[in-house]
Every structure is written in C-alpha cells, then in structure tokens.
Symmetry: C2
Subunit: 330 residues, 2 copies
C-alpha cells in the first residue's frame, strides 16, 4: 500500500491505491481466486517450454467485455452505465478459443456470451418447441447453429479452456482485473490482455455516496463525479508488465478517434489500440501500433470482423513471445 | 398539444406534453401499433358482455417490467439506469396468464422474461447438451421445468395472449405506455395496469443533451438532471381513466416506505400501491389501498410471492369491474 499523499496531483499509482482502499470488497473473492486456480492454465506449462503434462495451448488471453456500472447509491437503485452489448468480447472469445487459446472471459453480467450470439433478443424460448413425443426441438432453420453452439461451448468448458468471471460495477471490474492480471503475470510474454470492456471514466467514491435511494421530491439532482484512475497504466507497469496488451478506444466523433487512440498507445504503453466508432464498430476498426495503422474491414454481412482481428493479433502476440524467448524462434 | 407555458410551476399535463414534444421519436412506432392491433384483445369482446367470437379472457393487463435508462449523450455511450432485474414483472406475467388474462408485457430489453426465470445466470447453453445421436438434451434434473416452460410459452404466444413490447430508455418507455394505455382505454374497467417497471425519476432533456461522448480529459463531471413528469397521473386522468391501476413503490429505507406508498396512492389516484423494500422484495410486500394495508409474505423459498399477489389483485380487479357493470354482478 502506498502512503497517503497530500499533493493535489497524485501519481497514477497513488490514485489506483486510493481507489482500491475505498472500494467495497469484492464478493466471493475467495471463490473467484479458487476458480481461477482450478482453471487449467495450460500455457503456463506450454509457454515455459512444453514438456510433459497436458497438451499445449497457444497462449492465455484475458478478454474483458461489456460495460461497467457506477453506483450512485450504496444500497444501489440507480447507477450510471456504459453502452456495450458485449458483442465484441463474446465473438472474440470464440475466435481466440478456435485459435487454440485458453480464455479468461471477464464479462458484465447479462452481456452477450460466447456461442450465444445468434439467440433471439429476448427469450431463448423463441428458439425451442416440443415435438410430438414432447422431445425438445429447434426449428430446422436453426438446428445446425444451435447444435454447433452447444457442442463448441461444452468442449471449451469441459476441457477447462474457458473461465467465465462476471462483474457489474466498476469496483468489481477493476478488482477482478487486478486479480486475474497478477495471477497471469507468471505467463510472462505468453499472456495477453484484450480489454474490450467499456470502462466508466467517472465514478462516485464509495465513501461519499448516498446511503439510501436519492429522493426525487427535492427537485433537480446535481451530481459531481470523479475520474476513474487509468488502470491500464497500472496493469502495464505493475500487474503484468510482460504481457501483450490490446485496448480499445470507442468514440462517436470520427474526427478525434485516431488521435485519441494514438495518445492511449503512448500513455499506457499498449501494444495495440483498436480504434472504433459507435456508428460502425461491427464493420470496421483501425489497429493502431507504434509502427503504424492497419484498417480491418468486415468482408460481408455473414462474416465477423473479429475473425480477422483475432487472426492478426494472434500473429502479433506470437511474434511478441518469440522476441522475448529467442530460443524458441525456430 | 398544450400551448407552451411561461409559468415556473407547470401543471402535470403541461409537463407531460413538454416531455413528449422534446423526446426523440419512438423507433418502429408503426410496427408497435400494428402488433398491438393484431394482438387479440379478447376481453374487448368478452368485457362488453361476451357473445360470439373467441372465448373470453378474464381481462387484459399491461405489465411493465425492468428499469428505464436515461441517456447522457444523444449518440449514447453513457446512461443512468435504475436497478431492476425484471423478476417481478416476469413472474407476475406468468400468473396473470394462468389466471386467464391476456398480457401486454412492456419490458426492458434484456430483462427477465416470463417462463425463463429458472435459466442459469449467464449462458442458456449451460442447460443443454448433445446426446449420442446429436439430439438436443437437457440434464434430467431440469427436463420437467424446461419442457413446461417451452409448452406454456408456446401456448401463450400461439393463442395471442402475450404481446411483448421492449424498451430501453425512459423516452421509449413513456411513449409505449401512452400508446398501450390509450389503446386499452376502450376496455374500460376490464383493463388493468400493473406498473412494476423501475422508472427513472430524473432525466436530461433531449435538446440539452451532449451530442457526442463526454470527454474525460476535462476533469470531474458535473451534471444537472431534471425531474421526469409523473405520468401515472396522466395515465389515470387521461389515457385510461376507468382501468384498475396498480403501481409499485420501492425504497431502501423502511422508515419512509409506507408513507411514500400512501402518498402515491392519493397523489396519482391508484387503486393499489404495492410497497416493497430492496432488501426483501422477493419475500414480503405491503398492498396499500384506500381502505387499508395488506401484507403479503412468501410461503416458502419454493413459492413465488407473485402467485398470492396476483391472486388478490385479480379478485380486486373483478370487484372493480362488477361495481361499474352491476348487470354482470350475478
């Protein structure tokens, strides 16, 4: 723990420490840690040079997905939320698994899940019917996709290649990120972070939060929100400094998007910043790195942009791991 | 449309009119209206005295469910949300259907759905597996409940007794409520409103909203939010004045709960206000009416509180309809 500082401008480390000191404790912290331990991080063995034991995986990636909430009351009725369906993170998880990665899927409760993206918007029951022998049936148009989904999902879970950790608030999200990244630090260059979650920029510190539901009889509501410390900086510098780090920058204004992505690349020392616009994030993204920019466009409405994006990132991550382990280059 | 008023304290009618004038138009308004027309509101015939045509239903209820969001930006990345899983509305819809009602289920996208409440938190795929002949199977422990859910849901949809209308923002919610309640006004006393949605008290008027994502580089964020007009008053007085109206009051502080429920009963002319506390809303509620208070408690962990609650409300609604149609009393 850092000592308290009286300076008006605290360092990122001090800000992060202050945030965690004041955050409500993570529920089920021990259960999360235990599930994480039992997750068979095969790359730990594989990354260290293979040998006996379970078959190697290409790497381990922590995918963060969905938006974080900022409670406005301690016994929370109201909160500020960030738009994110979790579509990007869920699709990317599928392609990372396909590429041979083990995935820690840190996701917003209720957001899109891997292998479930084809589901009807509201009720999964729209997809099922009972046959004459009261057996469960899926309309023929959907049989192939539903069966493939069940099969791929079961395989990932049964082989221990997919660990799902849910969050709701910004407090839960950042505590989970710290827990997972410090645990993955031992993977060194074989670890990857793919931070697609839409993380709140502003929050109300827990100790200054209203205890009960804010009453509406008092007229208009005035709120002051503080900035959330930039934890990517801490992840990069302390929690898992050797990992391959990919973050996302979402804007609605195309005129400032690339410059903001480049600034994030420099400021937080990311390997890649994926820049996307709210209006067309499913169709096109720009990968910004220290050596240049690469535009990735969806080939057709039937394809996922994430298939190409993950293909490129897996290649870059492999180069990143080789550069730091020259023995393994051939 | 009301003329603009320069008075500092506008009437509820003026406030409501101003809210709708400034709201972004409801997407798919025509499609919603069409689906509502094709919904076989059988009680329209049945309530008017039966006769030929389709079999009678006990009544038509509009159940609202889930929380509304308040966008903070026009191209929305951030919004304020109200806590509500939609559990109450989804369970109540099931019991209204069981009691012979037709239900218009006005719900938050992604909230709990009728007959789906038993689902695993995150992935419906946790419930399914492929058999040896690659047929879709459910673990034996869940077979009965899944098959019953598919069967009940199919029946409700196929018989035209369940119409599902989704919303996300406070603007969409209130426009849908207006659309449904003015359409249900013809049912007179046979219509019921069961307003379980957690509706935002504060909002940012559309015209004063930031167009693009608010930038975090500017330091702390200050926001001023206006009060949302109390539309229950308008529903009661203009949209569907003869309907049986049930609203909900949720508080975290038990000391003010009942007095706030009684105030809502008087202020908006509700028939029933259901008072519940965030800490135990699944276990106990208090039904507040002009003649007294009734506490409803869950019998056991296996039972739904909503079963008893809907039973009592259906009885009260039936009395309400009889009082206004004395011919039908015997």
């Amino acid at each position: 723990m850092d000592p308290p500082t009286s300076a008006a401008h605290r360092s990122p480390d001090d800000e992060a420490a202050a945030f965690f000191r004041a955050a409500p404790p993570l529920r089920d912290r021990d259960a999360v840690a235990a599930s994480h331990c039992s997750f068979r991080v095969r790359a730990a063995g594989a990354g260290a040079g293979g040998g006996g034991g379970p078959p190697a995986v290409a790497g381990v990636v922590c995918v963060t997905s969905g938006g974080t909430t900022v409670p406005l009351e301690q016994r929370c009725v109201r909160y500020i939320d960030n738009f994110s369906s979790g579509q990007r993170g869920a699709a990317s998880t599928e392609y990372f698994l396909k590429a041979g990665y083990a995935v820690v899927f840190v996701h917003r409760r209720g957001s899109k899940q891997p292998f479930c993206r084809f589901l009807p918007e509201d009720s999964f029951l729209d997809l099922f019917e009972l046959g004459q022998g009261s057996e469960i049936q899926v309309p023929e148009s959907h049989t192939t996709v539903v069966k493939a989904a069940i099969s791929s999902y079961r395989k990932a879970i049964d082989e221990g290649l997919l660990l799902k950790l849910p969050f709701t608030t910004i407090f839960e999200y950042l505590q989970l990120l710290q827990l997972v990244s410090t645990a993955m630090n031992c993977l060194e260059h074989h670890g990857m972070f793919y931070c697609a979650a839409a993380v709140s920029d502003f929050y109300v510190p827990w100790e200054s939060m209203a205890k009960h539901k804010i009453q509406s009889a008092g007229g208009p509501l005035n709120m002051q929100l503080n900035q959330v410390p930039k934890m990517l900086f801490i992840l990069r510098n302390h929690w898992a400094p050797s990992a391959f780090c990919v973050s996302f920058k979402l804007e609605t204004d195309p005129d400032i998007l690339i410059q903001k992505a480049e600034a994030a690349l420099r400021k937080y020392g990311m390997n890649v910043v994926v820049a996307n616009e709210l209006a067309n994030y499913k169709d096109v993204v720009v990968m910004v790195t220290s050596t240049g920019k690469t535009t990735v466009s969806r080939r057709s409405k039937e394809d996922d942009l994430e298939e190409q994006l993950i293909g490129l990132l897996v290649k870059m991550h492999s180069d990143h791991a080789k550069q730091s382990n020259p023995d393994q280059e051939t």
